[in-house]
C-alpha cells in the first residue's frame, strides 16, 4: 500500500512564517511595554521621592508636637497653662525592701511639706502615688534611696507657670485632664479637639497687667483687712477683658490646698449692691430721656426724702440745693433719687435692661451668677436703684455698663478671648453719643474735683465714680460693712479702658486714715494700677492734655473767698 503523502510544506511554512512573525512582533511589543513599564516605575519612584517625601516628613514632625491638651496663652503669647510630661512618684508597698519608717523619714526630708506619718500611711496598703508631680531633682533624690518599690511614671500634667496669676480666669483641670472651672472648662472641647489643640488658645488677658492688678488689689485687701476684692480691666471698644482679679485667690497647680470660697470668681460669680457707682448711669439715662436738660439746674438736697416709709438720706448732708455735677461730685443720694423720680420707671428700667443687668454677665466663663433684679418695681425701687440699692449685679456688669457709658454709648458684651484681626462685635446703642461725651466730662470732674481725687494719677486723665454701699444684713443695712467700689475709665479724652476695683468689707485702719469709703480704699488702687499698667497698655501720660471742663467748673458752688 502506497500512501501518497502530500507535502503542503511550503504552504504551511509561508503561513507559519507569517504566524511566527506576528508572534515575534507581539513578543517584542510586550518586551517594549515591559521596558516602558520599568522605566515608568523608576521615573515614578524618583519623582515620588522628589515630590512627596518632604511633605510626608513635615506632617510627621508636626504631628509630634501636638500636646494632648492645648496650651492657653495671654494676648502677647505668654504661656498661662501648658501640658507637660511631668514626673510622678508611685509606691508599690509589697515590693518595698527597706525599712518603711526609715524610708518615710528620708522622703519627708526630700518633701518637707509632708510629714513622716503621712508617707508611712501611704506606704502601707495599696499601690498609690507619693507625688503626682515632682521636680526632676526630687525624683533623682528619691531614686538615690535605692528602693525598688518606687516607680517613676511620666504623666501628662497641666502646669500653670504663672502660679496663681489669673487663677479664676484659667480655672483648673481634674486628674483626667478635663476642665473643671474657668477657661479650662468653657473651652474644654476646643482644647481637647485633635484638629485645633496644636494652636494655643489666646486669651484677651495681658499677663503683666493682670499681675499689676492682682498685686495692687492684694496689697490693698491685706492692708485694709478686707474679706475679699475684685478688679476688672475692660477694653471699652472691644469688650476684651485685659485683666480680671478676684481675691482671695488660689494656686491652680495645687487646687486641693485651697478652699471653695477662694475658688469663687468675685468678678462674675458674686453679686453686690454696688451703690453710688450707679449714679452716672442714672444721670446718663436722664440726659438721654431729656429730663435733665441743664447742668445748671438745681435740686433740693436740704432734707432727706421720705417715700412710702423709706428715708433716703445723704452720707454727708450738704444742706443746700445741688445741680447734677455737684450731685455726682458729692455723691448725693437725695438728688439722684429726685432725678430718677422725675425720669420715671420705664426709661431707667429700659437702660438697665439694655445694659443686661437683668441677665447673667455676658462672658464665656462658666461661673456666672444671675443678678438680683427688683421683684416688684415701684416708685421707691426707681429711686433706690438709681443709686445702686435694691439691685445687685456682678462687678463685670458694672464695668461693661461703664464701657458703654464712656465709649460713645455702645454696649458690647465682655469677652475673654482675644479680639484680633476680626472686627469688634457690633454692639448695641444704649446712650446717645452726646450723652456719652457729657458723662466723660462729669466723670472726669468727679476725679479732678470731687470724691475721686485719690484716684487722679497725673497725666492719665482718669475719670470715675466712687461707691461705698452698705451691705445688706438681716433685713436692713449694716452700717460698718461696706462694699467699696471705684469704677473708672481712662484716658477720659478718648476712653480706651475701664477699670473697676471693688474691696469687700474694708476696715477703716491707719492705712486708709480710718476711712472705709471707696475714696480712701478703692480709689488709691485705681491710681496705682493705672500708673503702672497705663504705659503697658499704650496710654502715655501727658500732663498738658485734659478733658475740657470749662463749662462745668463755673457751675460748682464755692464758699465766699474760696478759690
Amino acid at each position: 500500500m502506497t500512501t501518497l503523502v502530500a507535502r503542503p510544506e511550503r504552504v504551511r511554512r509561508a503561513a507559519q512564517n507569517q504566524q511566527f512573525l506576528t508572534l515575534t512582533h507581539r513578543r517584542l511589543m510586550m518586551l517594549l511595554l515591559a521596558f516602558l513599564l520599568i522605566v515608568a516605575v523608576i521615573v515614578g519612584r524618583i519623582l515620588a521621592f522628589a515630590a512627596f517625601d518632604e511633605g510626608a516628613g513635615k506632617a510627621r514632625v508636626a504631628q509630634a508636637f501636638v500636646p494632648p491638651r492645648g496650651d492657653i496663652v495671654d494676648r502677647n503669647g505668654v504661656p498661662l497653662a501648658r501640658t507637660m510630661e511631668a514626673y510622678a512618684i508611685r509606691v508599690v508597698p509589697e515590693r518595698l525592701i527597706n525599712d518603711k519608717v526609715e524610708l518615710a523619714r528620708e522622703l519627708s526630708r526630700i518633701f518637707p511639706d509632708t510629714t513622716t506619718d503621712q508617707f508611712l500611711a501611704r506606704m502601707s496598703g495599696k499601690p498609690t502615688y507619693i507625688r503626682r508631680r515632682a521636680l526632676p531633682e526630687q525624683v533623682a533624690a528619691v531614686n538615690a534611696l535605692g528602693e525598688i518599690g518606687f516607680e517613676y511614671p511620666r504623666e501628662q500634667e497641666r502646669l500653670y507657670p504663672q502660679l496663681s496669676l489669673g487663677a479664676h480666669v484659667l480655672g483648673f483641670t481634674d486628674a483626667e485632664g478635663h476642665g473643671v472651672t474657668g477657661v479650662e472648662r468653657a473651652f474644654d472641647a476646643r482644647l481637647r479637639d485633635q484638629a485645633r489643640r496644636a494652636a494655643p488658645l489666646a486669651l484677651s488677658i495681658d499677663a503683666r497687667v493682670q499681675a499689676i492688678l492682682e498685686s495692687e488689689l492684694g496689697a490693698a485687701v491685706t492692708n485694709l483687712e478686707a474679706i475679699g476684692g475684685a478688679g476688672v480691666l475692660l477694653d471699652t471698644n472691644t469688650g476684651e477683658v485685659v485683666a480680671m482679679a478676684s481675691l482671695p485667690t488660689f494656686n491652680p497647680n495645687r487646687v486641693g490646698a485651697s478652699s471653695l470660697a477662694a475658688r469663687r470668681n468675685a468678678v462674675t460669680h458674686n453679686v453686690y449692691e454696688l451703690g453710688s457707682t450707679f449714679k452716672p448711669l442714672t444721670v446718663a439715662a436722664a440726659i438721654d430721656a431729656g429730663t435733665v436738660t441743664s447742668m445748671a439746674r438745681r435740686y433740693d438736697a436740704m432734707q432727706p426724702v421720705q417715700v412710702a416709709g423709706f428715708r433716703i438720706r445723704d452720707l454727708h448732708p450738704l444742706g443746700r440745693w445741688l445741680n447734677v455735677p455737684e450731685m455726682l461730685m458729692h455723691s448725693s443720694n437725695i438728688v439722684t433719687a429726685r432725678v430718677a423720680d422725675e425720669l420715671g420707671r420705664a426709661p431707667l428700667e429700659a437702660m438697665f435692661r439694655a445694659l443686661e443687668f437683668d441677665k447673667r454677665p455676658a462672658i464665656e466663663l462658666p461661673e456666672r451668677s444671675g443678678t438680683l433684679w427688683p421683684r416688684s418695681w415701684g416708685r421707691v425701687t426707681t429711686m433706690t436703684t438709681a443709686f445702686g440699692h435694691g439691685i445687685a449685679v456682678t462687678p463685670l456688669h458694672l464695668a461693661s455698663g461703664y464701657a458703654a457709658l464712656v465709649n460713645g454709648g455702645i454696649y458690647r458684651p465682655a469677652t475673654i478671648l482675644k479680639v484680633d484681626g476680626r472686627t469688634p462685635p457690633q454692639g448695641k446703642r444704649v446712650f446717645k453719643p452726646a450723652t456719652s461725651a457729657r458723662m466723660r466730662q462729669l466723670l472726669r470732674l468727679i476725679v479732678a474735683e470731687g470724691t475721686g481725687r485719690k484716684a487722679d494719677a497725673p497725666g492719665y486723665r482718669i475719670g470715675g465714680k466712687t461707691g461705698s454701699a452698705e451691705k445688706p444684713s438681716g433685713g436692713g443695712y449694716a452700717r460698718h460693712s461696706v462694699v467699696a467700689t471705684f469704677s473708672a475709665a481712662f484716658p477720659m479724652d478718648n476712653p480706651r479702658y475701664v477699670l473697676l476695683v471693688m474691696i469687700d468689707e474694708p476696715k477703716g485702719n491707719a492705712y486708709s486714715s480710718g476711712q472705709r469709703t471707696a475714696a480712701w480704699t478703692a480709689a488709691p488702687v485705681v491710681k496705682a494700677v493705672v500708673t503702672r499698667a497705663g504705659p503697658m497698655l499704650g496710654i502715655i501720660p501727658d500732663e498738658r492734655r485734659d478733658v475740657d471742663l470749662t463749662d462745668l467748673v463755673p457751675l460748682l458752688w464755692k464758699a465766699k473767698g474760696d478759690q
Binding site: 502660679l163 496663681s164 500708673t531 501727658d542
Partner: protein, 258 residues
C-alpha cells in the same frame, strides 16, 4: 553570524537593563538611608522641642510675675515712671539737656554784667602791683591787649563798685583790695574805643557820665555775637560730639553707659 548577533542583542539588551537596574539600586538604598537618618533627626528635633518646652516652662515658673514682684519689693524697688518722665518729642528732649550754661548766659542783669566785665578786667590788669606802681605819674594806664577779659564777675563785686567812686585816685602806690574795686568806674570809656584800654587821666566822674546810648547798643550786638560763638563752641565742639558718639556706641553695644 548575523543570526548569532541578533540573538546576542536580545541578551545584551537584557544585560543592559539589568545593569542599569543594578546601578539604580544604590540610589534606592541611599534614599532609604537618608530617610532613616531624617527620621532620627526628626526624633531628636522632637526631643529637643520637648526639652525646650520643659525648660521654658521652668523658666516661666521661676520668673513668674509673682516672683518678679517679690524681687522688686525686696531688692530692686523700681516704681512706675511718672508723667514728667515721658517726653513728647525732640523739643521736649532738647529742653532737658542739663548742659552747663555758657558763661555768657548767666542769668545776671545784662547791663550790669557789661559794665562790670570790662571794668573789672581793666582793674585787675591795671591795678596789679607792677602796672599801678610805675605808671601813675604818666597819668595813663594802658591795659595789655591780651588781658583776659572776664565776661562775668561776681555780682557782689559789681555792686560794690559804684559807691566806691569818690575814692578813685590815679596815684595810689599802696593798693589794697578796696582800692582796686574803686577803680572800676574809671574803666567804662575803654569799650567805646573797642579796645581794652583804660584811661585814668581825667576824673572818673566825667568818664562815667560819658557813656552814651550808642556804646550800649554796640556792646549789646557784640555780646550777642559772643554768646552765639560760645554756644557753638560748647555745643558743637569736637569733644561734645565725640562724647555723644561714644555714648550712643556704648549704649548700642551693651546697653550700659561707660
Amino acid at each position: 553570524m548575523l543570526m548569532a548577533a541578533r540573538r546576542l542583542r536580545g541578551i545584551a539588551l537584557t544585560l543592559l537593563v539589568l545593569g542599569i537596574v543594578m546601578l539604580l539600586y544604590p540610589l534606592s538604598l541611599k534614599v532609604a538611608a537618608k530617610r532613616s537618618e531624617l527620621m532620627r533627626t526628626e526624633r531628636s528635633i522632637v526631643r529637643a522641642q520637648d526639652r525646650i518646652r520643659y525648660l521654658q516652662s521652668e523658666i516661666a515658673v521661676r520668673a513668674s510675675m509673682r516672683q518678679l514682684e517679690v524681687w522688686n519689693a525686696e531688692t530692686f524697688g523700681y516704681s512706675a515712671p511718672t508723667a514728667p518722665q515721658y517726653l513728647d518729642g525732640e523739643r521736649q528732649l532738647a529742653s532737658l539737656d542739663r548742659l552747663p550754661r555758657p558763661a555768657g548766659l548767666q542769668p545776671v542783669a545784662p547791663v550790669l554784667v557789661a559794665m562790670a566785665s570790662d571794668a573789672s578786667a581793666n582793674t585787675l590788669s591795671a591795678s596789679g602791683p607792677s602796672a599801678s606802681a610805675p605808671k601813675p605819674a604818666a597819668g595813663q594806664a594802658l591795659a595789655p591787649a591780651a588781658a583776659p577779659r572776664t565776661v562775668v564777675t561776681p555780682v557782689g563785686m559789681v555792686r560794690a563798685a559804684p559807691p566806691a567812686k569818690p575814692a578813685a585816685k590815679p596815684a595810689a602806690p599802696a593798693d589794697t583790695v578796696p582800692v582796686r574795686l574803686a577803680r572800676a568806674p574809671i574803666a567804662p570809656p575803654s569799650p567805646r574805643a573797642g579796645e581794652a584800654r583804660a584811661t585814668v587821666t581825667k576824673p572818673a566822674q566825667d568818664r562815667a557820665t560819658a557813656t552814651t546810648g550808642a556804646t550800649e547798643r554796640a556792646r549789646e550786638t557784640r555780646r550777642r555775637a559772643e554768646r552765639l560763638a560760645m554756644i557753638e563752641s560748647q555745643l558743637l565742639s569736637p569733644e561734645t560730639l565725640k562724647a555723644l558718639q561714644d555714648g550712643t556706641a556704648a549704649e548700642a553695644r551693651g546697653g550700659q553707659r561707660p
